[in-house]
C-alpha cells in the first residue's frame, strides 16, 4: 500500500525541480523585484516603502526616457525589417532556385553568432576612418562620410543594422517552413484561374502564414525588449547615452550605480509589454486546447 502510494508520488517528485524553477526562480524573483521597486533601496534592499516614488523618479529620469525612446525606434525598425527581409528571402528561395541549400545556410549562419560577436564585427565595419567609410573613400569618393556609430542621432540605427543582419535569417527559416506547409493545390488552382503570383502571395499565402507570423512577431518583439548584449558590444550605449536601452539602464543601475530600487522599477516596467504580448498568445493557446 505504502509502496503504491510512493509510486504515484514519483511523477510529482520528478517535476519538483521544474516547480521550484517556476515558483521560486520565475514568479518568486519577479515578485521580489516588484517589492524592491516599491522601496527606497539603494545599494542594499531596504524595507522602507515609498509607494510609487521610484516609478515617478524613473519617468523623470532623462536617461530612462531616452532609452524608452530608443527602444521604440529600434523595436519598430528591427521587427519590420526582419519580417520584410525574412519574408522576401523565403519567397524568393521558394521559387525552385538552384543552390537552395547553400543560400539557406548563408542566410541563417549569422543567427549562430552571439550578439557580442555580431556587435563587434559591425562596430569594426562601421568604424569611421577605417571601415566601410575608408573603403568607399579609396574607391574615389574622398568626401564620403559614414560615421553613424559615433553620431548621437544615428548610433541606434547601427544597432538595427547589425541585429537585423543577425536575426532575419531566422525569420526566413521559419517562414520558409510555413510556405512549404501550404497545400500545392492552392497554387494549381490559382494558376488555372490565371491569378498572378504576387496576388496569390499577398491575398492567400500571407493570411495563411498568420500563425507563423504571429510566432515570429512574438519572438522578435521579446528580443527587442531584451536588447542588451548587442548595444554593449557595439556602442556601450554611446556616444554619451545616445544609444541607451532599458535593459542596459537597469543593469547599470543594479551593478554600477547602486540604485536597485530604481533599477527594479525599470525591470517591472519592462515586464509589462512582455505580459501584454503573451496574453493574447496564451488566450489563443488555451482556446485551441479546449477545442
Amino acid at each position: 500500500m505504502l509502496a503504491r502510494r510512493f509510486r504515484t508520488l514519483t511523477p510529482f517528485a520528478a517535476l519538483l525541480p521544474m516547480a521550484l524553477t517556476v515558483i521560486v526562480a520565475y514568479i518568486g524573483t519577479a515578485l521580489w523585484t516588484l517589492r524592491v521597486s516599491l522601496t527606497s533601496s539603494r545599494t542594499f534592499a531596504s524595507d522602507n516603502f515609498v509607494g510609487l516614488a521610484q516609478y515617478e523618479r524613473l519617468f523623470d529620469n532623462e536617461r530612462w526616457m531616452l532609452s524608452l525612446h530608443n527602444l521604440a525606434i529600434y523595436g519598430l525598425l528591427f521587427v519590420v525589417a526582419c519580417i520584410v527581409i525574412g519574408f522576401l528571402l523565403a519567397v524568393f528561395i521558394d521559387q525552385n532556385v538552384t543552390g537552395e541549400g547553400v543560400l539557406r545556410t548563408v542566410f541563417l549562419y549569422p543567427y549562430a553568432m552571439s550578439f557580442v560577436a555580431t556587435g563587434l564585427v559591425w562596430q569594426w565595419m562601421l568604424t569611421p576612418g577605417n571601415g566601410i567609410e575608408q573603403a568607399v573613400r579609396l574607391l574615389g569618393f574622398p568626401n564620403f562620410q559614414f560615421d553613424w556609430i559615433i553620431d548621437q542621432d544615428m548610433a541606434i540605427y547601427t544597432v538595427v543594422i547589425a541585429t537585423v543582419w543577425q536575426a532575419s535569417g531566422l525569420v526566413m527559416a521559419m517562414l520558409l517552413a510555413g510556405l512549404r506547409g501550404i497545400d500545392p493545390e492552392i497554387w494549381k488552382a490559382a494558376r488555372l484561374d490565371g491569378i498572378p503570383a504576387w496576388r496569390v502571395y499577398s491575398s492567400i499565402v500571407l493570411p495563411m502564414l498568420g500563425p507563423t507570423l504571429a510566432t515570429v512577431f512574438l519572438l522578435l518583439s521579446t528580443a527587442v525588449i531584451k536588447l542588451y548584449d548587442a548595444v554593449v558590444a557595439m556602442t556601450q550605449g554611446g556616444p554619451g547615452t545616445a544609444s541607451e536601452v532599458p535593459a542596459k539602464f537597469i543593469m547599470d543601475h543594479l551593478f554600477l550605480r547602486s540604485n536597485i530600487g530604481l533599477a527594479s522599477a525599470g525591470a517591472i516596467v519592462l515586464l509589462v509589454p512582455v505580459l501584454a504580448l503573451l496574453a493574447p498568445y496564451a488566450y489563443a493557446r488555451s482556446r485551441k486546447g479546449q477545442a
Binding site: R7, T10, P11, F12, A14, L15, P17, M18, A25, Y26, T29, W32, T33, I85, L88, L89, F92, Q95, V97, L103, T105, V106, F107, L108, Y109, Y111, A112, M113, S114, F115, V116, A117, L120, V121, W124, M125, N130, A135, L138, W165, A173, T215, L218, L219, A223, K226, Y228, V232, A233, A247, M251, L254, G266, A267, I268, L270, L271, V274, A282, R285
Partner: protein, 283 residues
C-alpha cells in the same frame, strides 16, 4: 521572355542578399590576416597582401582581457567548463520533465508548464537581482555551480518543450505496455524512452551549446571573475582596452569566440534548423 527576366531578377536578388550576409564574415577573416599597417593603408574589403597568422596567435595567447594578458584562451576554457555541465544537466532535466508531462500528467502539471513557457519570455533583468541574492545566500554566487544553475533555470523552458513535443509523438500504447509489464516511472524513462530519444537529444544539445556559448549577460553577472566566459572576455578585449586598437587581433579574437557555434551550425545543418523550428519559442 518575361519569365526569363523574372528568373534573372530572382537570382540577382538572392545573390546580392547572399553577398550582404557573407560580408561581415569575409571582413572578419581578411582583417584578422592583415598587419595593422596594411589595415590603415588599405580598404576593409581588400584581400591581405601579406597574410599573417600573427594576430591569431596574439588573440589566443597574448591579448589583454582585463587585468590579465593571456589571450582569449582562458575564456575559451572557461566557456567549455560552463557549457559542458550547462548542456548535460538541462537536457537530462528537460527529458524528465517532458516525459512526466507527456505520459504521467500529474495534476497541475500543464498549468506549471504554461507558466514555465511564459517564463521564457520574461527579461532576465526582472529576475537577476533576486537571483544574485539567492545564490549569495546559498554561498555559491560567482562560481561555476552558480552559472550552471542559472543556465539550468533559463534553459529549462526550451529543453522541456523540446522533449514534451517529441514524446507527444510517441504512441501512448508503448507507454501503457511498459506500465502493464510493471515498469515504474524511472525504469520506463531509462529503458524505454531515453534509448529512443537520440534525435531530440542531438537537437537539444545543439540548441543548448549554442545558447550557453553565446550567452553574455548571465556569464557576466553570475560566473565570477575566475570563470568569465569567452564572450565576456572578448568584449573586454575590444571595448575596455586602452591605447591603439589592434583591429586584426580583435577580429581574430572575435572569430575564435564565434568558432564553436559556427562550427556546430555548419556541421549540423538541418539539425540546427530543426531545433529552431522545434524551439521557436526561445527568446
Amino acid at each position: 521572355m518575361n519569365k526569363r527576366v523574372a528568373r534573372i531578377g530572382i537570382y540577382v536578388f538572392l545573390f546580392s542578399a547572399a553577398l550582404f550576409f557573407l560580408l561581415p564574415l569575409y571582413v572578419m577573416l581578411v582583417t584578422s590576416l592583415k598587419s595593422m599597417d596594411e589595415i590603415r593603408a588599405g580598404s576593409i574589403f581588400a584581400l591581405p597582401l601579406a597574410a599573417t597568422l600573427e594576430p591569431w596567435r596574439q588573440a589566443w595567447s597574448e591579448v589583454c582581457t582585463g587585468a590579465a594578458c593571456e589571450g582569449v584562451r582562458a575564456g575559451f576554457w572557461n566557456s567549455v567548463a560552463i557549457t559542458v555541465p550547462s548542456t548535460i544537466l538541462p537536457i537530462l532535466l528537460g527529458a524528465v520533465n517532458g516525459y512526466a508531462l507527456s505520459f504521467w500528467r500529474p495534476r497541475g502539471a500543464s498549468l506549471l508548464f504554461g507558466l514555465l513557457m511564459a517564463g521564457a519570455f520574461i527579461p532576465v533583468q526582472v529576475m537577476i537581482y533576486p537571483l544574485v541574492r539567492l545564490l549569495a545566500a546559498m554561498g555559491v554566487f560567482g562560481s561555476l555551480p552558480a552559472i550552471v544553475l542559472v543556465h539550468l533555470i533559463f534553459g529549462m523552458p526550451v529543453m522541456t518543450m523540446l522533449f514534451r513535443n517529441y514524446y507527444a509523438g510517441v504512441p501512448h500504447e508503448l507507454f501503457q505496455a511498459a506500465r502493464i509489464d510493471g515498469g515504474g516511472f524511472w525504469r520506463i524513462f531509462a529503458q524505454v524512452m531515453l534509448p529512443m530519444s537520440a534525435p531530440i537529444i542531438v537537437v537539444a544539445a545543439i540548441m543548448q551549446v549554442t545558447g550557453v556559448w553565446n550567452d553574455y549577460i548571465l556569464g557576466l553577472v553570475f560566473a565570477g571573475r575566475d570563470n568569465l566566459p569567452m564572450t565576456v572576455q572578448l568584449n573586454n578585449v575590444i571595448n575596455t582596452t586602452t591605447g591603439t586598437r589592434l583591429y586584426n587581433v580583435n577580429m581574430a579574437a572575435t572569430i575564435l569566440t564565434a568558432l564553436v557555434p559556427l562550427a556546430i551550425y555548419f556541421l549540423s545543418g538541418r539539425w540546427f534548423v530543426r531545433g529552431i523550428a522545434a524551439g521557436a519559442v526561445k527568446g
